[in-house]
């Protein structure tokens, strides 16, 4: 029987199947952060259990850590406690840990790939819904709950249900000024926030050859916002080249053997998906969200929809609530909406290619006087590389705050947040009510669009800005 990539990854990790249709899945790698694991360690400690394979785990603090004054103790006592607790827990269980003052520290979903901890063909779990990111490497990666984090640590396995499969076929090249974030937002708008729930998405098609690993990660990262817990791209030469020489990737003959296996990781030509969606990239425009769900995405040339015109009563109600929260009127043009804050960062758009895309727009320009702009690299290594290449200077010269790595304003748990009523152009992944701070209004955009908003002071079509050199 021809199989999809998802089938192959699933089949190669089933320890046993249960009567109710679920299966016990072997987990090759587990990423830990400070917020979702305190109770997982309690579950182990209360039973006197040890970690089954400590070296299959990697821990880092990212959600609650400050992005300023890293040389000083964490000011928020609860965040300080949570971070210290992670450090104690991993030390006790011999789990590899990247400390806060280490250059490799960063967001779990940035550092996993960066270190070569994430590899094609493996299963990878993390107590975080954006774990789908790692599927860009052809790994079966999914978010799990805190109890499951404890189960994975103690047993190296977790109970899952097999997903249905959805193929997203991408054709054509992205036009100038349009990024994979725009593609991701468009896809969520088409599918709906729950449109892919119960499904594993596989991206296929000629367009992938033109997308680097960082762009593929952005795509897989956002799949969860369409409801898909798993997203996949089959590994190819781009994947192999990206991984070669990474600190935790296999070396020498091991690497060659791995590559030979990875080359088998693709959907068979005759394989059938439960659903197929086609997407042409050539006509794509830069996108922005207007509401409080990632599915509320429109081209920047669009206008705020009118809930009264909606034929679906429940959706109309939700949209009206979103407009009230966002302080918007039906028919308002998205281009021209004044913003107070611009945030560039997160596991969606906090990598080097993202910073490059933003810097290209920022070069030779200044942040609008009414805007607070903040750039938070996804990891210390991304930060160092951006500094070495002169990108950091571009951000600073433009008037951006240049911070240390972490989740920061994506989830606003570390003190980086926006004020009630403030409008923020953000490269993160969720525009839920209060996500970036109580009463804060989030407009999701790609990095170039965020930079354009920063310099003009309002949401705007980045294609209208000349690239200065």
């Amino acid at each position: 029987m021809p199989r999809t990539l998802y089938d192959k990854l699933w089949d190669s990790h089933v320890v046993r199947s249960y009567d109710d249709g679920s299966a016990l899945i072997y987990v090759d790698r587990h990423l830990l952060h400070e917020v979702s694991t305190p109770q997982s360690f309690q579950a182990l400690d209360s039973r006197g259990l040890s970690v089954h394979r400590p070296e299959a785990n990697l821990a880092v603090a990212d959600h609650a850590v400050p992005t300023l004054n890293r040389d000083r103790p964490i000011a928020d006592p609860m965040a300080a406690r949570q971070t210290a607790l992670l450090q104690r827990n991993v030390a006790k269980h011999n789990i590899p840990y990247i400390p806060l003052d280490d250059r490799r520290q960063g967001i779990v979903h940035v550092i996993g790939p960066e270190q070569g901890f994430t590899l094609p063909g493996m299963t990878l779990a993390c107590g975080d819904s954006h774990t789908s990111t790692h599927g860009a490497f052809g790994a079966l990666a999914f978010g799990i709950g805190a109890s499951e984090c404890g189960i994975v640590m103690a047993t190296q396995a977790v109970v899952q249900r097999r997903a249905r499969t959805m193929c997203v076929r991408l054709s054509g090249d992205l036009p100038l000024g349009v990024t994979t974030k725009d593609l991701a937002l468009r896809l969520i708008a088409v599918l709906g926030a729950n449109g892919a729930s119960g499904h594993a998405i596989e991206y296929v098609g000629a367009a992938l050859a033109g997308l680097g690993m960082e762009q593929r990660m952005t795509l897989c990262n956002m799949a969860i916002e369409a409801g898909a817990r798993v997203a996949l791209v089959a590994p190819d030469q781009i994947t192999v080249d990206w991984l070669r020489g990474r600190p935790m990737a296999p070396k020498g003959a091991d690497f060659d053997a791995a590559v030979a296996y990875w080359q088998t990781l693709r959907s068979d030509p005759e394989a059938r998906y439960d659903r197929v969606v086609e997407m042409d990239l050539t006509t794509l425009a830069p996108h922005v969200t207007w509401g409080t769900s990632p599915e509320d995405a429109l081209p920047i040339t669009g206008t705020v929809p009118d809930p009264a015109q909606d034929d679906d009563a429940r959706r109309a109600q939700r949209r009206q609530r979103a407009l009230d929260y966002m302080g918007l009127e039906p028919g308002q043009a998205l281009d021209g909406l004044a913003v107070d804050v611009v945030f560039i960062g997160s596991c969606t758009n906090g990598r080097l290619a993202d910073l490059e895309a933003a810097a290209e727009v920022l070069r030779g320009r200044r942040v609008h006087p009414g805007v607070r702009a903040i750039a938070v690299p996804g990891s210390g290594l991304v930060k160092a590389e951006a500094e070495a290449r002169g990108l950091a200077q571009v951000f600073r010269d433009a008037g951006f705050e240049w911070r240390d790595a972490g989740c920061s304003m994506c989830v606003a748990m570390n003190g980086d947040s926006i004020e009630p009523g403030q409008r923020c152009a953000s490269t993160s992944n969720r525009n839920f009510e209060g996500r970036q701070g109580r009463g804060g209004r989030t407009h999701l955009v790609g990095p170039a669009m965020a930079a354009a908003a920063a310099v003009t002071g309002h949401l705007t079509d980045v294609r209208k800005l000349e690239i200065l050199t």
Partner: protein, 205 residues
């Protein structure tokens, strides 16, 4: 370990609102707490307590006779929203062992059974009827061995749990215990084969 759920005799509180999400059950500002015990303080915090921390007399769990009730009859979409498991822990911590609703947030329902909280999906009309019985103070009786739910002495439904799930509730095993007791040999066997097939995944780095 969660406490075994063998037999339950309790009044039920009725929370008929649609989409009682995990933010309502467990507000995000408490996510920096690092314990599992005691999270009950945060359960429904913004509804159960007033701004100044006093009990809100309107909230069903604060009514005399319903304090300490172990059953919730909820509205559609109970537990939707963020995946935080804290929502389940907080409910269990205040003694809730059974939630009945027309449907549940998918991840919440998954988290619930892992923590000894039984969730029962029943048709909306049935839930509405049970809600009235809850408000009338009738007794909800759950028999895990017989897999039945009686309300006011009358049979409502069977529980329809797979044998393994039933056993887990009866013994207070959570999923970790079940896997440890039942599957570790299978896991080790699998691991041996997996190591032979993909040795690079096991090489020391």
């Amino acid at each position: 370990m969660s406490a075994p759920l063998i037999h339950l005799n309790s009044r039920a509180v009725h929370l008929p609102d649609t989409n009682i999400d995990t933010d309502i059950i467990f507000p995000a500002r408490f996510l920096l707490r690092t314990d599992r015990e005691g999270l009950g303080d945060c359960a429904f915090a913004d509804r159960r307590f007033t701004q100044d921390g006093a009990e809100n007399p309107e909230f069903p769990l604060n009514r005399d006779g319903w304090r300490g009730a172990q059953v919730i009859v909820g509205g559609a979409g109970f537990g939707c929203g963020s995946s935080r498991e804290h929502a389940v822990w907080a409910l269990v911590d205040i003694g809730i062992r059974l939630v009945i609703a027309p449907d549940f947030g998918e991840i919440f329902a998954g988290n619930a059974v892992k923590n000894g909280l039984l969730v029962l999906r029943l048709p909306p009309e049935t839930c509405a009827g049970l809600g009235q019985q809850a408000e009338a103070g009738e007794t909800f009786t759950l028999d895990m061995r017989a897999q039945t739910l009686h309300v006011g002495g009358r049979l409502v439904c069977g529980l329809d749990l797979a044998r393994e799930a039933q056993e887990a509730f009866l013994n207070g095993w959570d999923e970790l215990d079940v896997i440890l007791n039942r599957d570790m040999d299978s896991i080790r066997d699998f691991e041996t084969g997996h190591r032979a097939r993909q040795p690079w995944l096991f090489a020391a780095s």
